[in-house]
Symmetry: C2
DNA sequence: GCAAAAGTGTTCCTTTTACACCCATGC
DNA sequence: GCATGGGTGTAAAAGGAACACTTTTGC
């Protein structure tokens, strides 16, 4: 999770999700991208509206209705384009989340469930991986999100049968063990297959 | 679809989804239930937040951000509790929708897709059927929503295996043909199974 | 040469699909 | 008695789960 440290009251100094107010002439999506850029300096790969939160007392100041979005970002993207210092925005392991400002823990819960539900039938996992990745990264990603172990061989078989990955001629070594081929998600193939009625399902 | 005829400008006299403004001290869900009651006189069985629409010019008057909900209602409920006259609120077959006010056609698109996506893994179809229903009603419902024919025998086999329906001792005749048993969705059974990790999937 | 990770196939079992005949009722 | 819809079972095919040994590298 990418969190920011709040600079103003309420919850000053506590961690929170980035966010802000929608301007008069922009769409919701535009507002999200703008706020994210302003507060964390990143451009996102994937953006999806999550849910709108509107309990009357979720903000101690005023009535605030938040349209929450969730984004997927390659960590490498962030490291390259970061325009803020580490004090203000920080990646935090989702298993070590502190108590956040407002109802933001609840929002994260909803987001994680959405991701878990969606990654099985939409190829959004690639938005979290580098463009070229060893197969084990994909495997570990699914295991992480589902929070359970998946048979390596069956997973690979199934995924390769979908025919949306290309295996490259490059190999990469992770320090120890046999180096593995790099793979790349072929968006074009995916959309062609989707159009012709084939469904992605892992 | 349950539509209302607009009484005020803009789009006066045209069909639209029921809706209105959120009051200061109510949650979004409460606002939906209130508006629905005020404009159509019904209480809903099932309510789910759908999506928030916020393009800057979706309403010609002001900037309006709409948090859309979708509800499922038994038609019989509506006929009983209707508190409005037929001029103001009306059921319209979804295959015969006129062009609606604002971006409401788009909202309905999103809702139909949500329903289609969800009915396969959550037992929300029952919210559209009477409490006791012949099996053929359930079958027809799924065929209608998926817009494709489903083998009657396989569908029944699969559904009964889920073990969340009870077959009653009553039979009902539809005028012609052999009368069929009535069934009832057993919510308690469903939640027990869900808790124990069994997944509903049709 | 040993530890670590990658590559690869087969068998069994479960699930899904396709499909046809009989039964109860209204007219 | 005929038209209509309801009730039921089986066989073949496909898909998913379980599982072990070999290869390449770093140290």
């Amino acid at each position: 999770m990418l969190l920011i440290k709040r600079k103003a009251k309420p919850f000053k100094g506590k961690w929170a999700l980035p966010g802000g107010l929608v301007l008069d002439k922009e769409s919701l999506d535009q507002a999200v991208e703008r706020e994210l850029r302003e507060e964390t300096g990143i451009d996102v790969n994937y953006l999806e509206q999550l849910y709108s939160f509107g309990s009357p007392n979720r903000d101690p100041r005023n009535r605030v209705i938040s349209v929450a979005y969730f984004a997927l970002v390659r960590k490498s993207n962030f490291e390259l384009h970061a325009s803020t210092d580490a004090e203000e925005a920080k990646w935090i392991n989702i298993k070590e989340l502190p108590k956040l400002s407002f109802d933001h823990n609840k929002i994260i819960d909803v987001a994680v469930n959405r991701l878990r539900g969606k990654i099985g039938y939409q190829p959004i996992g690639f938005e979290l991986l580098d463009e070229k990745f060893p197969f084990s990264d994909l495997h570990k990603l699914y295991e992480l999100i589902y929070n359970e172990s998946i048979d390596r061989r069956n997973f690979k078989k199934k995924f390769l049968q979908l025919n949306i990955l290309e295996e490259l001629d490059e190999k990469v070594s992770k320090g120890k063990g046999r180096p593995g081929s790099l793979f790349r998600f072929n968006r074009t193939k995916y959309f062609k297959l989707k159009k012709s009625g084939v469904v992605f399902e892992v």
